[in-house]
Symmetry: C2
Subunit: 611 residues, 2 copies
């Protein structure tokens, strides 16, 4: 254990031993990279996270953003941290050299960002929203939009937001009411209210680039119903002149801040567009610019949304991870009680890490946190394939597999690494429940993750209602092939424990497959989707078993050639966590499958009046 | 739904239809009572909770106790609420008329206190500690101690604490170092530090009665090792003169307050005994009086501790309950989206209570919260039997069964009703994560419950290491008889659904019995106790299935004779929650049993260096 943020040893294992990220150097885009340069990049992230992000994590929580009716004030350490992050080139790290980037592989960039998230989730939020925002504009924006907005974002001068929800339209985006009125010059004027906008107003950056979903009215002035009528707009907080200098204030104003249980350092805003406080260029309405095609706004936004969902899963995993490292550190240093067979009260107390139930809580956290991080990095690695695989079919396959895994990558760590944080508190006993220690904040911060960027329930509907059948089942077939390949490799390695895990995975994969096949064949949509929740639970845990078997195979290979004791310990710990997942977690799956085939309608049939 | 605190309809169902509390009026102690008087008592509790406790719950959280180095200040509403509670006679409600009490059955008194807990957990904490403290002194104290300390507590003039933990001895009480030096006059002088003392210092009451575990030194000045040497002492904050008037300050001083994630309104203290700030009666040390026999302190304290454990379970259940009612209220009033079969975006949005996944989350909360409350009231009802059953064997049996159920009554609601609070947040979406709504506080408050009064891990060791074999297995045999009786009654009622649940319970009860029998026969204590955690999980969920079948039987009886629609809805909801528990929750049990027989040693074999 090198740090209480993340285990660097484990990150290197995941990236270089398991995901073989260094092999990307064979591709032209990454030709300048090697394991050494990639490790050096991780050093940079780690140092900035440690020196600039971690020190104000508690202060950020205790001094949340204040709104005086005019300005939103955050503690000055936030700006200093993000400046250090930008000046090290990390805002643009994955982008082209031409944009000031490092052309880092996505998987490595995400592993680096994970350090910032572990150190200070709230402050890292400004960065990851900006990075995702820029990515969207690079895909769908015009060259002029890239020059005027993306370049300053890459320098850390502008930050980004995503403005989707409205007070009456959270999960149901088709019901948004923000209007975008076209002007003869091709620009738009926006009027409406946006809710839950992270980083929606502050003075940390020179400007804020809002990406806003809105509807262009029909000729009769009505708004087109449903998601089809949604377009995407770029709405800067301050207008940007052709020469890049900042112009007047746009009519985007803060109506109020939400006061959250955790994640407090990142202002979460209710924004009014076009309420009349400002009249940019002498006209009413917030001046906005169409991004991509009219009516295709949701599809464009999902580019950012999918990246955000993976980032949410990643952040949940790393909060679980840092909580685990904190709990481990505490457990090694806290003497309490004696072991069952050694109750002599005249003997000194033992460190609690030696108590079986504490070991259980630590190993559970390790399995959840390392599993969650591995899944997030696996997904990031798929994005690298999607962008740069030499083979066109491989690029398509990576995208399709990622489509299927995204709801799991978002939801699994959000659920189980939150549970890891609860266990981290439990290991600390009463101390963990106090703000004098760090773990209670991780727990509060992490509780947002099952809610934002699509709730757990939305992810479940996405998986069962869409992703399992996506591309005529091609996404699921790709996963099936990978799972079977993993099972075969686990058996081929000659390790009896891994072979037994492979058998367990094959059995449960078959059981899951039969269940979902029959479930998908249920004709009535209400019944089919009624228990989407437990379907996601079961699917998620089986995917995680596969991810653990993958890690187990790589760890067994590492152990076979490890000649120093420290490495051997690392690999044995990895294999033990794999064993834990198969022996302790996989047996949960039949409990979820029990309500899927046939579909148990106990919940669906509950009447409102009976509550 | 009558209130967002608790459902009165449900409380009446549990107390009068299921637990038949009104039948206690046949016993001399309760001869003045009837269903009407008991309901009237609940009215009083509910009114005081609603009018005095609930209004400052959020303020209590936002303005936690402050220590200026001299005094601890809490918001004035706390004192006003506890005065109203005391003046209504509720501090003494279960005690003899002679003590100013109402001779309420324990089960009814707990149901009443539940209102105060639901309204404001922190403020209710002052009361429930005082009530439990008085109970202990009534059992083990001298008549003089009762007159001098219990009577003022019953009037709400003195409050009580329990002082067990020390900074180096939390779960491991045998390692406490507080010394009690005997004086020739039979009193003691205490020296030491006590940690995690709820209500340890404040100005809300005239005096504070600390019940303190300490060790009387051996003749050579050393402290006896282990729990055998522990005695119990009464240490008042201010001395009390023979005439009851308050004398000088005792040498118990606050060293500092802990700052908690939740439960913030109740000051949690590090107390120093005999540090020298005061010299009561001109001598050093905190003046204390032995309670019960020397060396029997832990046994005496467990009287209070067991009551506190049941109270913790109760408080966890009621936080789950009020969270559920808040979520239900929100779900009925929040329109969002459309149902799977009705996606026409031109139609208005539906209240989210109609979405299957929201129904699932609400029904889950209902099953957890009503189940947890039912278990806590069942335990309270056993205390009534223990105290007043006409038959001596019935009194012994009640005590033995309660011994076995106590770790479950403490831990099950602490785990699952916390999960209910998480679901209450989830139903609220982003709103639930903000402090503008109430549910995030319930979640933070409830997170303490798996920690204090014996952690979850301690409860698991208590169950597997002690309670399952207690009295040569007599406790378990009593539970076995009750479970089988319930199964027989469920079958006899002619309701097919209940008969199916009875079969499921019989099957899992058999499976659990075989597993625990083999587990208890494992000779190696380390291996036997290694997986105490999942044993508690499995046992707890099976006990809860039994409690739900009990409620189901009573509900089916109620439904058969219900002639108004509202009652029918109530009973149907109860039966649906019972069905939910059997269909959705009971299938979790084999997942826990999987690691018990044979004992899976994955966690136990994890080496510290491998983490």
């Amino acid at each position: 254990m090198e740090s209480l943020l993340l285990s660097r040893r484990d990150l290197e294992f995941m990236l270089f031993e398991w995901l073989q990220v260094q092999s990307l150097a064979e591709r032209e885009r990454y030709a300048d990279h090697s394991r050494e340069t990639l490790s050096a990049a991780l050093d940079t992230y780690e140092a900035i996270a440690r020196d600039f992000f971690a020190p104000h994590n508690k202060k950020n929580d205790q001094h949340e953003p204040q709104f005086d009716g005019e300005r939103v004030t955050v503690i000055p350490e936030v700006k200093a941290a993000l400046r250090a992050f930008s000046e090290a080139g990390l805002m643009a790290a994955r982008q082209d050299y031409e944009l000031g980037g490092m052309q880092l592989p996505f998987a490595v960039e995400r592993a680096g960002v994970a350090y910032a998230m572990a150190a200070n989730l709230a402050t890292s939020g400004f960065a990851f929203l900006t990075i995702a925002n820029a990515e969207l504009l690079l895909t769908y924006g015009t060259p002029e939009q890239v020059d005027r907005y993306v370049r300053p974002m890459m320098q850390g001068r502008f930050f980004g937001t995503m403005c989707l929800s409205e007070p009456q339209a959270g999960s149901s985006l088709g019901d948004i009411r923000t209007r975008a009125e076209p002007r003869p010059d091709g620009t738009y004027r926006l009027f409406g209210n946006k809710m839950w906008i992270s980083g929606g107003e502050h003075e940390v950056s020179e400007n804020i680039v809002h990406l806003v979903l809105a509807k262009i009215p029909n000729p009769d002035g009505s708004l087109p119903p449903g998601v089809q009528g949604i377009s995407l707009f770029l709405v800067p907080r301050r207008l940007v002149q052709p020469d890049g200098s900042l112009g007047e204030r746009n009519d985007v104003v803060l109506a109020g801040l939400n006061h959250k249980m955790g994640y407090r350092g990142l202002p979460n805003c209710l924004l009014n567009f076009g309420e009349g406080r400002h009249t940019p260029q002498g006209e009413p309405g917030a001046l906005g610019y169409l991004v991509g095609e009219a009516g295709k706004g949701l599809a464009c936004m999902f580019k950012m949304m999918n990246e955000a969902r993976i980032a949410v899963g990643l952040s949940a995993a790393v909060l679980g991870y840092t909580g685990y490292l904190h709990a481990l550190d505490y457990a090694r240093n806290r003497p309490q009680g004696r072991l069952p067979g050694q109750k002599d009260p005249t003997q000194p107390q033992v460190p609690i890490v030696r108590h079986p139930d504490v070991k259980r809580m630590l190993l559970t956290q390790k399995a959840y946190a390392e599993g969650g991080l591995a899944l997030a990095l696996y997904s990031a690695r798929l994005i690298d394939e999607q962008h740069s695989a030499p083979d066109a079919q491989a690029r398509i396959d990576a995208e399709r597999l990622l489509d299927l895994l995204t709801p799991v990558t978002k939801s699994w760590p959000s659920q189980w690494c939150l549970e890891a944080n609860s266990l981290a508190i439990q290991v600390h006993g009463g101390y963990g429940y106090t703000r004098e220690y760090n773990v209670e904040q991780f727990y509060r911060d992490n509780r947002l993750n099952p809610i934002h960027e699509g709730t757990h329930g939305i992810q479940a509907l996405d998986l069962l209602g869409r992703k399992l059948r996506l591309h005529d089942g091609a996404s699921l077939a790709l996963l099936d092939a990978r799972v079977r390949d993993t099972i075969a490799r686990a058996r081929a390695g000659g390790d009896a424990a891994l072979a037994a895990h492979a058998q367990a995975l094959e059995d449960i994969w078959g059981h899951l497959g039969e269940t979902t096949t029959r479930l998908l064949a249920v004709p009535d949509a209400d019944a089919r989707l009624a228990n989407a929740g437990p379907c996601l639970e079961a699917f998620g845990h089986v995917v995680m078993a596969w991810i653990w078997l993958e890690q187990g195979i790589a760890a067994a290979q590492g152990l076979a050639s490890a000649d120093d004791e420290r490495s051997q310990h690392f690999y044995r710990g990895k294999l033990q966590a794999c064993r834990y997942f198969f022996h302790w977690e996989l047996p949960r799956v039949p409990g979820w499958l029990a309500v899927l085939d046939p579909v148990d309608l106990t919940c669906a049939e509950m009447q409102d009046e009976w509550f």
